[in-house]
Amino acid sequence: AQSVAQPEDQVNVAEGNPLTVKCTYSVSGNPYLFWYVQYPNRGLQFLLKYITGDNLVKGSYGFEAEFNKSQTSFHLKKPSALVSDSALYFCAVRDSASKIIFGSGTRLSIRP
């Protein structure tokens, strides 16, 4: 069965520093991977996806994610964090029945 794991409940980064939010996946077949973000009191917003093609995927708000097949990872990255990036981030994978399976979420906190 498809699954994703987010090993960190919380990530703390100083503003201006690079950030990484980790995600590993387990799928049979080709992975379709996603990152979503939930800002306080808001719904889930799509950030980016990997279906096929370049391993480095660029998304909204300056975020990018690197697909690594050998390590079965899809880590979310940003070169320079902003305080406004503070939110809850979810990694997700599409399963064979076309529904999305989410990870447990990582709370990203950017300190000024």
């Binding site: 379709y32 996603f34 979503y36 808001r42 719904g43 889930l44 917003q45 799509f46 996806k49 279906i51 979810f90 599409r94 029945a97 076309s98 529904k99 999305i100 399976i101 989410f102 990870g103 447990s104 979420g105």
Partner: protein
Amino acid sequence: EAGVTQFPSHSVIEKGQTVTLRCDPISGHDNLYWYRRVMGKEIKFLLHFVKESKQDESGMPNNRFLAERTGGTYSTLKVQPAELEDSGVYFCASSPGWSGYTFGSGTRLTVV
């Protein structure tokens, strides 16, 4: 293009009462999904409609939950009778295909 609309945004009910959540998908999206996040845990799939038909309801927790999608347009999710453990955020999403969903802002349900 209007997004996915969910209401109410918040609902507080007593244990044993009934609550109905509504989701209006993006016009023309045949696929409609319900998810929920309970007690700060991962976001879990509840069910998937294709038009008015239930494609997959494997995530529905028990028979206190009833989902409908009238005429393949909006969908309702009724919880009757509500229990304390039903508290959480209920998300709806729609998509024209499988390449990605658009989520609503969610309904925060609190059962007291």
